[in-house]
């Protein structure tokens, strides 16, 4: 749910006057802030011992606490606090040694108590930042706050008739809400921010980062202002964007919508809008939502959360290498281009795979090309991810050594790789089994070259007449005739000799 705290202020600035838009600097600038909710990977819920496991039968993970029965008391889960602190430290926030929980009051059928336990004043962490990689550089995006709260139940709407069904298995699952400063200016920046944040959460192993299943959710506050104006315009809040692509699409749509309104001299209404991915539009929820008046007050059932500095330091010491650090190391230690470093560190598992390959075959750029090219291409059709890649680092390294020793050509390597992926077999075995050994014997290649030249007298004449480009054609024909096994360098040499010699 959205909340009213820490919002981009727009009261009193009114709508920017479109005539005041300085045409020279090009119209309007978007101001975007994101609120991200991440489900923490604890085993039990935030305030009770019910399981957080996904996919259980409805209402089988519910107890008096998460059903909101009268007289129960919440007891905070230590691991939820630890995970939230990890994220706070990884995003350079100041961790509050004393923070308080608050009740956020509203009525909705998925909220059994009539309030959500959240944090409002004095959240767990404030004032951090994230460095996001962008084409041609990067950008530092501020984080306003990170706080702990409980998730609501799940409403199922697919029943016929004027009813909804409620499953409270998710009620009380721990969430952190991460609120950015309004520092983002384009949908691309918002996408990059979200990817970087997701990557950090997954590296920390505190959230599985799955947007489609709702373990990571994103709402966006969007406003426009004439370029060069410091004051913010009136914003709208866009919800229900359940993929990276949808966040970018929804922001593009919302920016275009607001720009059109402003250019026509209209004013933006502060409202919540729902993104409809199927239709590619956002729809106003105006009239369907109560004014945001949550009457927050300190949760009387929970004492202030007090942390020991020593414990926070301990958590800090346990942080793994984070995506930004790994990227920098991949550039420095392996001499990779920043783009390669970014792709290879997009997940910890992929980075580990790459590093294991390099350990066995210490030519980082060669390994990078294979991992970014062939490995990632094969993975696209495979839901299981790199952990389940049938080609192990050992096999890939061995295949690369077969290339170096001249046993197989680059072209044959592609075939070997595909076969390794299909069968999971060792490259040497595949080479032997399929007779893929590169032919570097002039006595075997010579006749194949001769046959190709005889079959294409017209091309031979054209080549000799000065059309050098035909060499590639001849090489291709010879490779085809030898099922790709001929040593391409040797084929080149023999072809040149025969073509020149006549």
């Amino acid at each position: 749910m959205s909340r009213a705290k820490g919002e981009v202020s727009n009261a009193g600035t009114g709508a920017p006057d479109p005539r005041a838009a300085p045409g020279a600097t090009g119209g309007y600038e978007a101001v975007i802030g994101l609120e991200v909710h991440a489900q923490l990977l604890t085993r039990s819920k935030i305030f009770c011992g019910c399981s957080t496991a996904f996919g259980a039968p409805p209402n089988s993970h519910a107890c008096p606490v998460c059903l909101g029965m009268p007289g129960v008391l919440p007891v905070l889960n230590r691991r939820a606090v630890e995970y939230a602190v990890k994220v706070a430290l990884a995003t350079h926030c100041t961790v509050a040694l004393s923070s308080i929980f608050a009740r956020k009051n509203y009525f909705y059928p998925d909220l059994p108590k009539g309030y959500q336990i959240s944090q409002y004043e004095l959240p767990l962490a404030t004032n951090g930042y994230l460095d996001i990689p962008l084409d041609g550089g990067g950008k530092r995006v501020g984080l306003q706050r990170i706080h702990l709260e409980e998730d609501a139940g799940k409403l199922l709407h697919e029943t016929p008739g004027p009813y909804s069904l409620v499953d409270f298995n998710r009620s009380g699952v721990p969430l952190i809400e991460i609120v950015s400063q309004p520092d983002l200016r384009t949908p691309e920046e918002a996408g990059a921010y979200l990817r970087e944040l997701r990557s950090i959460l997954v590296y920390l192993e505190v959230c599985d980062g799955n947007m489609e299943e709702g373990s990571l959710r994103c709402d966006a506050n969007v406003s426009l202002r004439p370029r060069g104006q410091a004051a913010f315009g009136v914003r709208s809040e866009v919800k229900n964007m359940n993929s990276f692509r949808n966040v970018e699409r929804a922001l593009e749509y919302e920016i275009a919508r607001q720009e059109k309104v402003l250019r026509q001299g209209g004013t933006i209404v502060q409202e919540t809008r729902l993104w409809d991915a199927a239709r590619g539009v956002s729809v106003s929820m105006r009239g369907k939502e109560e004014a945001h008046d949550y009457r927050y007050f300190p949760e009387p059932d929970l004492l202030p959360l007090v942390l020991e500095q020593a414990w926070v330091d301990q958590v800090r010491a346990s942080l793994p290498e984070l995506p930004a650090e790994k990227r920098a190391r991949f550039v420095g230690e392996y001499g990779l281009p920043p783009y390669d470093a970014q792709v290879l560190t997009s997940s910890k598992a992929l980075a580990n795979y790459f590093e294991e390959c390099v350990r066995l075959y210490p030519k980082p750029k060669v390994v990078s090309n294979w991992v970014m090219g062939d490995v990632l291409r094969e993975l696209k059709g495979d839901e299981r991810g790199i952990e389940a890649a049938p080609v192990t680092p050992e096999h890939l390294a061995r295949m690369l050594r077969l290339m170096d020793s001249g046993t197989i050509s680059g072209k044959l390597a592609k075939t070997v790789f595909e076969e390794m992926w299909r069968s999971g077999d060792d490259p040497e075995e595949i080479v032997k089994r399929q007779g893929l050994v590169q032919v570097s014997d002039e006595g075997a290649i010579g006749p194949a070259v001769e046959a190709v030249l005889q079959a294409h007298p017209g091309e031979v004449e054209a080549y000799r007449g000065g059309n050098d480009k035909l060499l590639g054609f001849f090489v291709g024909q010879v490779m085809k005739a030898t099922q790709g096994k001929a040593n391409p360098q040797l084929v080149n040499e023999i072809l040149l000799r025969k073509l020149r010699g006549g």
Binding site: R43, G49, L67, R78, I100, H157, Y163
Partner: protein, 95 residues
């Protein structure tokens, strides 16, 4: 006046309370008295005193992250005014 009739009605709406004319009148007067009384607290000089969120100042005991048995679904649903497919059945809230 510390509170207006309109504010009382607004809070009643947020709390899903239907007040009669007489009740709205009576509560406005009572809440006004309570708020006036609370104003007394503002007479205290609280400069340099940490704001308190709770009456006790001990650190809370945290729970270890261990799963404990939940209620059987039938028990969880036993107070539901209506149910279907092991779920609580409620009036549709959207569309």
């Amino acid at each position: 006046m510390k509170i207006t009739r309109a504010e009382v009605e607004h809070v009643a709406t947020l709390a899903r309370l239907a007040l009669t004319e007489a009740e709205a009148e009576a509560f406005t007067a009572q809440l006004d008295q309570i708020l006036t009384y609370m104003e007394k607290l503002n007479e205290l000089d609280t400069r340099g005193i940490e704001p308190t969120a709770h009456a006790v100042t001990i650190a809370p005991v945290l729970r270890e992250d261990e799963v404990r048995p939940s209620l059987p679904p039938a028990a969880a649903l036993s107070n539901a005014p209506a149910r279907e497919a092991e779920c609580f059945k409620v009036p549709r809230v959207i569309e």
